[in-house]
Symmetry: D3
Subunit: 246 residues, 6 copies
């Protein structure tokens, strides 16, 4: 692993400063404003009784997510998808990733016929928005579930949360594997991978893409090592923020 410092002074295996402002919203059942460096994502969890029609009558709950970027979250202003009248492919893809990932740590039987919608709105983007979104979404989700148990929408003995969940990006830049890429790094990466891992260290999603040159098995292994270390660190931060009560 290279010792060389990165532009922002980090080592290759170092996360950016992570902050999680739990309960940011007065309205949502669970919420978190998460920062991975300058990347800031507002995650809210909306709990409602009942499930979509195609899930009804099975005694199971549903968790889904929507991801979006504010038009000026980026360096150049993007047109709003609402104005364009359709959701872009990237937005769809990330929304689906977040929802699928969260469902992997929820016991739908224990949730009962209730729905939790997670909204991840990127207020400012500097790389890693989808991994910040997943990491913050878990905190919002945990709080919404706790709220529902308090309100007795979920039985006191049920615990729908099977495990915790966090995500991080890794990539190969100038041949060197690096953790948690900022935007300027992301555009230079030959290979870019997003990894979603549970608190117990099991993989939920592994999405690696050769942006530049295809990668070999050894490079893949090095990236997976970095990602497991990074998500373990994030899981600790989440645990601290959520406290012993969770």
């Amino acid at each position: 692993m290279p010792n060389d410092l990165r532009k922002d002074g980090r080592t290759a295996s170092q996360l950016r400063p992570i902050t999680i402002e739990r309960g940011w919203s007065d309205q949502a059942e669970g919420s978190a404003l998460i920062s991975f460096g300058k990347t800031r994502v507002l995650c809210t969890a909306s709990f409602t009784n009942g499930v979509p029609r195609w899930k009804q009558g099975k005694g199971q709950g549903w968790v889904t997510a929507e991801y979006s970027m504010l038009p000026r979250s980026t360096n150049d202003r993007m047109d709003r998808e609402a104005v364009k009248g359709k959701i872009g492919g990237r937005t769809h893809e990330i929304s689906r990733l977040i929802g699928r990932s969260l469902r992997a740590v929820v016991d739908m039987k224990a949730l009962g016929e209730n729905t939790i919608v997670i909204d991840c709105d990127v207020l400012q983007a500097d790389g890693g928005t989808r991994t910040a979104a997943i990491t913050g979404a878990y905190v919002a989700l945990a709080d919404a579930i706790e709220w529902a148990r308090t309100k007795k929408f979920i039985g006191q003995k049920s615990q729908p949360l099977i495990d915790s969940l966090s995500a991080v990006s890794v990539g190969i830049i100038d041949g060197a594997p690096m953790l948690d890429l900022a935007y300027v790094e992301d555009v230079r990466a030959e290979t870019d991978m997003n990894v979603v891992v549970t608190g117990r260290g099991l993989f939920v999603e592994v999405q690696g893409t050769a942006e530049g040159a295809p990668f070999d098995r050894a490079e893949l292994d090095a990236l997976l090592d970095l990602a497991l270390a990074g998500t373990a660190e994030l899981a600790e931060i989440q645990a601290t923020v959520l406290g012993p009560g969770e």
Copy 2:
């Protein structure tokens, strides 16, 4: 004017606590996170050279605005307009109001062939989102114009800003005129009016609607008095935030 305190302890002619976090965004040329009580709106101003095709070759600039609410900014989660594939009437109406209001205090000749897009995204809604948006948008706009003068996209001797601008809602509740309605007050109001006023105290927009009972001339006059007082107070807060340099 009634002396009775409101639910949140205010008198009829009192604004909610107002805060303006100037320069919230690292990306935008101008930005402000404004709060009117629990209502929080992120306003960004994006400056670009050039104007839309239909304005080209006239030596004049263009200012426009887009308003949107995050899905869980409200008590019940709303569907995203991007997901529905179209912008609702209310969103259109408010976006047009904000853009039109701001243009009233900008000298388009002095701006030159440049465009400023103001995005007002409601992060949390508790009544008065459009008036908070206009008041915050002015601050973002002022900073974007100052940025452009520093960058020499606008001549040092030109001052496109003719006047400052703020807005407030007023309404009649149980027969009594009230300033700056919170959401619980707004739903009870018989008449609801949004007033946009310049720093010199001139009207830019007067939009009054009888939600319950139609109103007479005397009631209209009382509402206008309240609105002029409220916007004068907001103009002072803006001036303090922007400092003497502006």
Copy 3:
């Protein structure tokens, strides 16, 4: 008030020739083809039993409106909104204004669980289309309600109409307040205001906009005076058209 005649020979406080062709449609429950000078709007009222889902079970009715312009109602042909695949902001705004205004003079309890949809289609446009639409819509609405009473969809003793309703535009041109602006006047107006008033002279909507220079309190007062006089005249014309039976 200036005595100078306008381009079409009117004084500042004079309406254009107003005609209302009641019962123009063989299909609708109520209809009127209204002209404000060259502005011609076909208003139809469609009465149906039942209300939208969100109003059901409350014993109340619903009134809504849709406004649209034919593509060649204007001097330059406009693209159809159906072809563009979405409704523009202006159309949304005016549709909402018409519906909201009409509801202010309808007792929803007396209407019972019935819905009236008002369609206002501008066949020819020469300024003031929204105010002509509201004034004609009231006549169509009154006839649809009378039809429903005859058909016993509404009790014979119920009278859902609380008051009559008309609307007019006013504006400041070259510093002078003027009533009922034609298109050539509208584009020159510094300030433009649409005012909706009941037969008893109460305000339902006041929508004033500084297109050019912001306006002061005295100008606002002069415009309101003109609007009250103009709508009173329109209310008389409506009463004559509808006859004593209404």
Copy 4:
């Protein structure tokens, strides 16, 4: 041919009362409000210099048409296509039919690089709206072309109009061929045919559909006979309305 009178007193080979109000619009270069009985269609022709991109540089003009029905032109109110956000198949089909038919009588070289858009808006529908639209559209088109010759957008010696054009519906009801079906007849017809014919009696479009039972060659022949007679009558009415000057 049956002698039996129809519900409205016509014989099988009789048109409904036809009226054409030429020049109904103050805005369009050509216009006609046409009635086939209770069916009323407003046809406007908009002339503009230039042609769509794909026609440029060929020295040829372009003629196209758009058909639409007002929501309450029919007995039950239909949703607006603009509100639904898309044009229905029937609307598309009829718009294409009208445009294609008109182009058959226009010499595109003589028209030069100019575009004429015909709008046919059905104000009231009682069967035969597409044939009324074509018949009225021809009158609007003829006036727009005359206007352009007067304005010298088309050379004085050029005559883009090759022939006149009218259309009528025919159908088989209870085994009997009938001309110009009203709505109550149209729904009962086993076979329904729309025929577009030039002033010289040549076919431009023949669109026959077995709504009920398939039809044989003899029935087809009888329908074509009726249609040729009906369109000849319409051509005479058009000639009278347009006068000798055309």
Copy 5:
């Protein structure tokens, strides 16, 4: 009828080589891959119990069709309608034609409250795609109905198929009537007609259009003769493919 051979060596009254690959799909209840020369259309019939809401409770079935072209079925790649977000007029028109034509040979009572959706996807286009689609769709429909009788979704004694159905295009090229136009012929045709005929030789649809010069009654007659001969030939090919069991 001219004896001159066409570019592909056919006489004026000769069909292109016709092949029908019955049962191409492992998934659909009925299917056929049909070729008219280089034109290849995949037709599938999807049988489901139940009918759309507006047909319910009448004891009748429903048959409908959707037509589409793959983006590179043509010589130049076309944009996908799904990407454009709307169905074009031509697609709508042909889908409606196919569905309407098939319904003419189905006894909806005998079909019972079941729905058959026919999908006609053009894999390669060389003229006559709509007529190939109808001819292939009939084979897929026949198989889906036979499947439903085997599965007892339709009574063994019921036979919803009243007659067989095929379609062919005819046109006038350089004054000569021709059968089954290939693409290079279609673009040269002065008049183009699509004719849908039952196995018994009755007309279901006659759609003739003067693309170039309007046509007279004698030309129309010659085209109808050719079409009847061509569809009779197609009906024989269908019968051979379907075999005696049908």
Copy 6:
């Protein structure tokens, strides 16, 4: 690796029967109809001179892809995305995956300012449609590039193809890793991974998802082993089909 045979008689590490019909289309510059068992995808490559606006002037080419399923490619008929008016998230995601993967083996400089659009239309679906699409798309792409070299749109000495490309799915079923999942296997898989690999055995995409239980590092390794073996086999089939000339 388990020896147990699968439902279709394969061992865990066996591909389904693979067939590639090269040059299926008469229209496209390159094409292939590929089958992975019952999954059949038609891949066409459309070559055009020029690049999208945002790529112009850089001397580089562009390769993109669109994926779509015919409505009855699946066991239950799906609604067409064109009819729904928008592309679904899954379709977007797979289109992006195919385009991104292909670009990894193309030297854009060598391609010059030319665009290749790959269309992958699923005619029949039985699992693994995206991996079949990528594998077939490579063959179509190779032929389109060869076509362009023959036509001299690309220099004879340039070889834009850097490597070959194939893809396969792998998954864990009842704890056992399996290659090339058919639909019935796919729905049972706890973990599902799509892997895109070059002819030289380098990774281009690794997309693993825990559909059921999260997976550990050892399971991930076993899946990657299977995928590398499967794609090596597919690369040999491609080489045979394309022949020595490529």
